[in-house]
């Protein structure tokens, strides 16, 4: 070929690590293979799971088909109202202090939060690590800077709260702290209410802007209201902050891309500024957020019966996750696997931050066809009675083989 490409300076990028893991899993012919990688809830049978409340809402939507017209740039009003209520509770959601935008699920909500904060002059970020791998590249994508601190202690396998406090005490004013409200990804190690109280105190004192990312609301305690405690506490204290919210997990609407971003503006006079800024920013990104998933969610939000079904769905999922965690601990205890493993029941949500090393993880894949992530994050939902013992035996083998 004689022409040189106009894109000849491009190099081939490594695929997202988790995507790579998933394609390896797909190619693996082993009948015993176990997928505990990507953060998607699986049913007891190991298959995908459609929330009963969503299945019902889809039927209602089909029977009252609103068509596919453009929605509002801000988002579908009923959806936003429900999203606000889910995060902030009935009372605070109706006080008029929130600027809200329907977004392309959680990633889109974070992206809009970063853009919004940049418009308001805030580009200096703090992030507890380890953390969801996308945060840093997302902040850098919009020209922000990320400083990391320890969220987690490998030795205690728990939150490193001293590090959190020290960082809040030393970070410059107007820094943005990214916090996950519950089911911390990937460690599953959440803050207690006392710890949140201390964080809120420091945030106020030191003029910090919190960005609360809530991707798994309900999966920690089984109760969506309880899992929103931090958001409501910050609101009560008169703090101004941003919430990024996803319904991918707690309504199982992953691929439909259903989420929202809320800015808490304590001085109502400036809510329209924030609101119009969000719409203007969104206009040059994608104009409108997709309608279908948000309509399904709206139906759930607006129907008291489906709300009830939704609460039960979330409670049942959490119950199953907790029972899987218990069974993993029991099996590893029975096998007398070297090490302490009670973090599996202490951690919350979909993930068990196992502490397995990359080498042990590689062996899990090559010798046992067990696909976790290289950082040792195990999606507990990928386990069920059919494969828990196989999985635990594999963990036991790699821990004994490599240490």
């Amino acid at each position: 070929m004689t022409v040189t490409s106009k894109f000849n300076q491009l190099v081939r990028e490594e695929p997202d690590p988790i995507v790579k893991t998933m394609s390896l899993y797909a190619q693996d012919p082993s009948p015993n293979k176990v997928d505990v990688s990507i953060g998607v809830y699986k049913s007891e049978s190991g298959g995908p799971y459609l929330f009963p409340c969503v299945a019902e809402a889809k039927k209602i939507l089909a029977a009252n088909d609103p068509g596919h017209n453009y929605t509002n740039m801000q988002g579908i009003p009923e959806f936003l109202e429900g999203a606000r209520r889910a995060a902030f509770g009935e009372k605070y959601a109706s006080e008029g202090k929130l600027a809200s935008l329907q977004t392309i699920s959680g990633t889109g909500a974070l992206h809009m939060a970063f853009l919004f904060l940049r418009e308001a002059g805030y580009t200096n970020y703090y992030l507890g690590v380890p953390s969801w791998s996308n945060y840093v590249s997302m902040v850098e994508h919009v020209g922000g800077k990320v400083t990391t601190f320890n969220h987690y202690r490998e030795d205690t396998k728990d939150v490193d709260f001293d590090s959190v406090v020290a960082t809040l005490e030393s970070a410059p004013a107007d820094s943005v702290f990214i916090f996950q409200t519950c089911c911390h990804n990937p460690t599953g190690a959440d803050y207690t209410q006392e710890q949140w109280t201390k964080i809120a105190e420091l945030v106020k004192q030191r003029s910090i802007i919190p960005l609360l990312d809530t991707a798994y609301q309900g999966f920690s305690s089984g109760d969506k209201e309880k899992d929103a405690w931090a958001i409501r506490h910050f609101y009560e204290l008169g703090i101004e902050f941003v919430v990024s919210q996803s319904f991918s997990k707690n309504l199982g609407l992953y691929g439909e891309r259903v989420g929202a971003m809320h800015a808490v503006v304590q001085d109502k006079e400036f809510v329209p500024n924030a609101q119009s800024t969000l719409v203007a920013l969104f206009r040059s990104e994608c104009s409108f957020a997709p309608a279908f998933g948000a309509r399904v969610a709206s139906i759930v939000f607006q129907s008291p019966e489906l709300q009830k079904v939704w609460r039960e769905d979330v409670a049942n999922i959490t119950k199953r996750l907790k029972s899987v965690r218990q069974k993993v601990l029991e099996r590893l205890t029975k096998l007398q696997t070297p090490g302490t493993w009670d973090n599996v029941i202490k951690q919350e949500g979909l993930f068990w931050y196992s502490g397995l090393t990359p080498a042990q993880n590689d062996r899990l894949i090559s010798k046992h066809s067990v696909y976790s992530t290289s950082i040792g994050r195990v999606n507990i939902a990928g386990l069920s009675d059919a494969n828990i013992n196989y999985f635990c035996d594999a963990v036991d083998e790699v821990v004994r083989a490599i240490n």
Partner: protein, 439 residues
Amino acid sequence: MYRTSLLKQTARPSVRVSTRQFSVLNNQVRKWSEIPLAPPDKILGISEAYNKDANTSKINLGVGAYRDNSGKPIIFPSVKEAEKILLASEVEKEYTGITGSKKFQNAVKGFVFNNSGKDVNGQQLIEQNRIVTAQTISGTGSLRVIGDFLNRFYTNKKLLVPKPTWANHVAVFKDAGLEPEFYAYYETSKNDLDFANLKKSLSSQPDGSIVLLHACCHNPTGMDLTPEQWEEVLAIVQEKNFYPLVDMAYQGFASGNPYKDIGLIRRLNELVVQNKLKSYALCQSFAKNMGLYGERTGSISIITESAEASQAIESQLKKLIRPIYSSPPIHGSKIVEIIFDEQHNLLNSWLQDLDKVVGRLNTVRSKLYENLDKSSYNWDHLLKQRGMFVYTGLSAEQVIKLRNDYSVYATEDGRFSISGINDNNVEYLANAINEVVKQ
């Protein structure tokens, strides 16, 4: 603390000035409204004013979506059918890929580039893995992603857009870091293409610029180039080594048949296969031609020099999209997949649905023309224009007069959405226009 609070403390001398204020944001919004054509808030303002108007004869010509003869939005029957199939078969909602599913990508490739199996060049490019297709957040999202992509990897930031063009083009590309500049396209005083100046202004631009081409139903003028004129433009593109970026939002609305509206694409493919053009990119959506507006279903495709280049480009697209929104929404794309999946036999009914929609637009266009007074104004341009809009050539003053005196609501650039016109109001509208033009 937000600036919102700081603003309240202006009396205190210690207020930091290094952070930007929310008022700065407003300046930016104001700047956007200087862009030619109506920015979104204006259109919303028009709709609001329309909704409040008590006149029972009022007409809304601002809507950008299709309405039937009774003024109502429609669901394409073929789309409804596809949704039924989806509802009955869907058992999960898990994420699609960062750039969408292979099935969707292949459907788009077959539809747009291969003319459903009838375009030799397109077929060759597909078989050689020289087309990278990514599902995006409809048309806006596709423009934004390609804008970001070109800003990162292309050698030139200058992007040439026709004057006039869709208002959001300029905003999206500027926001993505490119430098949009107009090339001559339309002469409002003559209500016609200004082809001589179009060529002249393109020829005067620096080599290697990016050039935005509307594939069909130019928005907002509705005035497209003839195949002969495209030849001349593509000769300039080759000579100047421009990078063609094609926007195709209305495939099917020019002729009623989507396969007839891809002449430009087919010619570009031919040039690529002949090695006369290295690469080009296409943004398209199913918002209009399947009526999937709110579901946000569209794509970008980049035609590359080799399968190897395709792999690099695809990996960079994924890296770009992942920190913006991770993956696109699936409902609309699954509908598209079903419509193009032969086992469901829906393709022909969709083509018929689309033909019917375009048929109505053309009928209304002719009816409006018939009822307009040709003695005081030459309306022949109406019949040359294609698509959802009539670009009337009326002045902002005339548009405002139509609004105030006749409750006819349109944007001040004189772009009328034909969707708002039907058998019941076409005569009223024509009469109002005639009166305003006479004055």
